[in-house]
């Protein structure tokens, strides 16, 4: 069995699965991302084929109606309004109904104007003018204008609307329709991730007139966008149907329909794919061999920009001592831990970021690996424990908390076994999502297993996991420690060094110069790693498989709406 708790993929912190929409992660930006491997009929290539070989004209001749593409996801959509959606896979899927101002290119190296006509024009440090395409229409026939852009973004910024996307857009002060086809963004401060945010569904554009007329709840159940497919119907917990938008401004989509089916079990998704019931599925680890032998499907491993690791509660003994935390690094062979947990569907992480981010930003991860991630050495671990005053063992049983997910639980069990070898007793406690969040919020654990999906920018990891929440506007509530994982360090051994690191990661997101930003993250990473607040273990990869009947379709970690975008136009061969 694979993870039973894929349902928790819903939020950014555990986003996986459902790669129908390409990147389901919080955001993607430049860089080459993770290695992607395509497998077809048992053979494997590392080459990425983008867009197929046929020309659009040839495709149109072969299309014959285009067919219906049936994709799968493990979880239902609770709303189809991008302004209120929190679920990762839905964000990916909504790219078929709604458009964004920019899109990441399939290789993730640049942002391509989408509803925008060209790149943003910077007026001053915090003002950007974005010219918009003309002649774009929404599914109801209304013309897309700057009013819709201003409305969509300002609506989410309005605290009265309680949009969960407000935090992602908080750098925006306001958006004005400075012309019919020109939107002006006034930022509160310079923001390095401006275009990244505008290319994500958190900034999807909705038609003002329809959204106002229907009201948020109705709009969420019966959405209207400008994307390549229009909403047809949703049968809750069963499927969502979309139909071709023949007037799509980029091109006419080949596919007649898209159906997204909710199938909670990955094993069942795979069976449906292999037996022709669906066209795309995520293959669980234990079925990879079977999938490779299936002649009718293609498979590709797609790196997730997520992070999974062990978090130590430095507010409690014994992990208040940095030597104990460091000893944990020597205690376990983390490569073996990865093998036992995710096998081929994972990659070791260094520096609290996925390897894809390390590589695309050219962080000195090799250096970090040698300095902070040494090989397993129980003698060294014992020596560090002795220096910390725990040479004779511990008078308490450690509490290791893990979500009821096999990938997390395996991490916890392996750690437990190694702790036992050096005379430390521990209990592994499976917790529900509610217990897990409460424990993290209140610091009621010794070791916790943590998962977070932050996209391809280091900010997605450092800002969210390592800032001092007490320094946020409004600070923290009295009874909450804060589940950003650095909270425990701040509240147990706050120092000038830590406050400097906090300032650095806050400054980094306001700095546009990439080289400068990179140095900031390197500085902050050095601080954090030397304190061992946690041990990064792996980032995940999804084995996405699709039927060979689907042509001109190549999901990638970056491509939004890969069934129909600037680079591809899929169809189902009869």
């Amino acid at each position: 069995m694979t993870d039973e708790r894929t349902k928790f993929d819903r939020r950014r912190f555990l986003a996986t699965s459902g790669l129908l929409g390409g990147s389901v992660l919080a955001g993607c930006t430049g860089g080459d991302g993770g290695q992607e491997t395509t497998t077809s009929g048992g053979s494997t290539t590392s080459e990425e084929s983008m867009g197929g070989t046929e020309t659009t004209e040839q495709q149109q001749q072969n299309v014959q109606g285009g067919g219906t593409f049936i994709g799968t996801t493990t979880e239902d959509a609770t709303t189809l309004d991008p302004r209120m959606n929190e679920l990762a896979w839905v964000n990916g899927f909504l790219h078929y109904i709604f458009d964004t101002l920019y899109l990441p290119s399939p290789d993730g190296k640049k942002f391509v104007p989408h509803l925008a006509k060209e790149q943003p024009k910077q007026q001053d440090e915090t003002t950007f003018v974005i010219p918009l395409k003309e002649g774009v229409t929404f599914h109801n026939g209304d013309e897309f204008t700057a009013e819709d852009v201003a409305y969509s973004i300002n609506w989410m910024l309005d605290p009265a609307n309680k949009s969960p996307n407000k935090a992602n857009l908080d750098f925006v002060d306001s958006v004005e329709a400075s012309g019919k086809y020109e939107a002006t963004f006034n930022l509160k401060y310079p923001f390095a991730l401006f275009q990244l945010v505008l290319s994500g569904m958190n900034a999807g554009i909705v038609p003002k007139s329809v959204a106002e007329e229907r009201g948020q709840k109705q709009f969420g159940q019966n959405p209207v966008g400008s994307g390549p497919f229009a909403f047809d119907k949703q049968v809750s917990s069963s499927h969502i149907d979309l139909t071709r938008n023949a007037d799509y401004f980029l091109k006419q989509p080949n596919l007649e329909k898209i159906r997204m089916r909710v199938i909670p079990k990955p094993q069942v998704q795979f069976v449906e794919l292999a037996s022709g019931g669906v066209h795309q599925a995520t293959v669980p680890k234990n079925l990879l061999g079977k999938a490779q032998n299936e002649q009718s499907i293609e498979m590709k491993r797609i790196s997730h920009f997520d992070y999974n690791g062990l978090v130590f509660n430095s507010m409690r003994k014994p992990f208040d001592n940095v030597k104990v935390r460091e000893a944990m690094q020597y205690l376990v062979d983390y490569d073996e831990m990865l093998e036992a947990t995710k096998g081929q569907l994972g990659k070791r992480s260094y520096g609290f970021m996925p390897q894809g981010v390390n590589e695309s930003w050219e962080f000195p991860w090799q250096e970090w690996k040698e300095k902070y991630y040494p090989a397993k050495d129980h003698q060294k671990a014992k020596q560090l424990l002795k220096e910390a005053g725990y040479g004779g063992g511990m008078d308490k049983t450690l509490k290791i908390s893990s979500l009821a997910s096999s990938k997390f639980k395996n991490l916890a069990i392996i750690l437990q076994k190694e702790l036992k070898k050096v005379g430390i007793q521990s209990n592994v406690r499976e917790v529900t999502i509610g217990q897990w969040l409460t424990e993290l919020d209140q610091g009621k654990f010794d070791v916790n297993i943590y998962g977070w999906s932050g996209g391809q920018d280091p900010d997605g990891f450092y800002y969210y996991m390592f800032r001092d929440l007490r320094n946020d506007e409004g600070g923290m509530n009295d009874n909450v420690v804060g589940n950003a994982t650095a909270a425990y360090l701040y509240q147990s051994s706050d120092s000038d060094q830590l406050q400097q690191a906090d300032e650095t990661i806050r400054q980094a997101r306001r700095t546009n110069d990439r080289a400068e930003r990179k140095q900031m993250y390197v500085d902050a990473a050095e601080t954090w790693q030397s304190l061992y607040p946690q041990i990064p273990v792996f980032s995940e990869q999804a084995a996405t498989a699709w039927s060979k009947d689907v042509k001109d379709y190549e999901p990638s970690a970056f491509a939004q709406q890969p069934l129909c975008n600037e680079w591809s136009n899929a169809y189902v061969e009869k």
Partner: protein, 316 residues
């Protein structure tokens, strides 16, 4: 007391029981660790947004006030709103009622006669080969977990033989043939344990009846074995069975949660399961009340059925 008055009295008794169910459910869901707002917002939410949602949904109110507010809404037949889905719980339940009722109903319709038939056959062939096989099959059916059986059936019939769809639900009103194909595997999965339980109960009840003196007397009079079995012994054995048959309904509800998840059936079981994982109070309470009503009605019908089966029973 007439049957009519008895039925009214029993129906009225359902009200305090439901109040008890609601109170218990309310207390228990609020005792679950984790606030639904925190679960909804995930890690690292904006504190201001979390505070606002907690206030808006009344989670900051004292528990007794939340209880009374909820009870007041309930008295107006308002089950409240799903926090996760931002939709009325009643709407969500109504949308999912069809598949669950279909699945449970058909499973029962198949499980019940099969179990009775096998149980009677097994008892008639007491300690013979047929009895041993039936008992073994019954034990196997009872011991096989739903989730395992469901997955095995999918791999066998959908993957290996490609004979039946692996998942999904089609309404019989839309396409009866497709609906039947989609329901075969889930129904077998759900009905297996049900059949096994009822079969074993039927068998033991029948074996007991067949060992009684009146059966020997009937045989001495030369009545055909078939008549003894079906007209005399089975009718007497039915009384304890009726109680079990009514109570088994609750096990079907349990099973539907698992079966609906495995076969991707958009039913109430899955709604409840997801509600429980997310501390979606409205959904959990709404479904618990609904299932409690269903169960209580089942018990009431069982009690009323006694009189039909055994005319000696009086409702005094």
């Amino acid at each position: 007391m007439s049957l009519y008055r008895y039925a009214i009295r029993r129906t009225l008794q359902i009200i305090p029981v439901l109040l008890g169910v609601f109170t218990l459910t309310f207390v228990m869901v609020h005792a679950l660790p984790g606030n639904p707002v925190r679960i909804y917002l995930g890690l690292n939410p904006s504190q201001a947004l979390a505070d606002e949602l907690i206030r808006r949904y009344g989670f900051d109110q004292p528990l007794w006030k939340q209880y009374l507010d909820y009870l007041w809404r309930l008295l107006q037949f308002d089950l409240g709103e799903s926090f996760m889905r931002k939709r009325p719980v009643t709407d969500l339940m109504l949308e999912r009622m069809g598949p669950t009722v279909m699945l449970m109903g058909l499973s029962y319709v198949i499980a019940l006669p099969t179990a009775l038939l096998l149980g009677v056959y097994s008892a008639a062939k007491h300690n013979q080969l047929g009895d041993h096989i039936s008992r073994f099959a019954g034990l196997a059916g009872l011991s096989t977990p739903n989730f395992w059986l469901g997955l095995m059936l999918i791999f066998l019939f959908a993957y290996e033989f490609n004979a039946l769809p692996a998942s999904g639900y089609v309404s019989p009103f839309e396409d009866p043939v497709a609906a039947a194909k989609h329901l075969v595997l889930p129904i077998i999965t759900l009905a297996t344990a049900q059949t096994a339980t009822l079969m074993r109960m039927t068998r033991s009840s029948m074996v007991e009846e067949l060992s009684k003196d009146y059966v020997e007397t009937a045989r001495a009079y030369g009545l055909p074995e078939r008549t003894i079995l079906l007209r005399h012994a089975f009718r007497n054995a039915l009384l304890p069975l009726v109680t079990i048959i009514g109570l088994q309904l609750s096990f079907l509800l349990d099973g539907s949660v698992i079966v609906e998840s495995i076969f991707a059936i958009p039913g109430m079981g899955r709604l409840g399961y997801n509600g429980l994982l997310n501390n979606d109070y409205g959904v959990i309470i709404g479904l618990n009340i609904f299932f409690a009503v269903l169960f209580l009605v089942g018990v009431l019908l069982t009690d009323l059925a006694y009189a039909y089966i055994d005319p000696r029973i009086r409702y005094d």
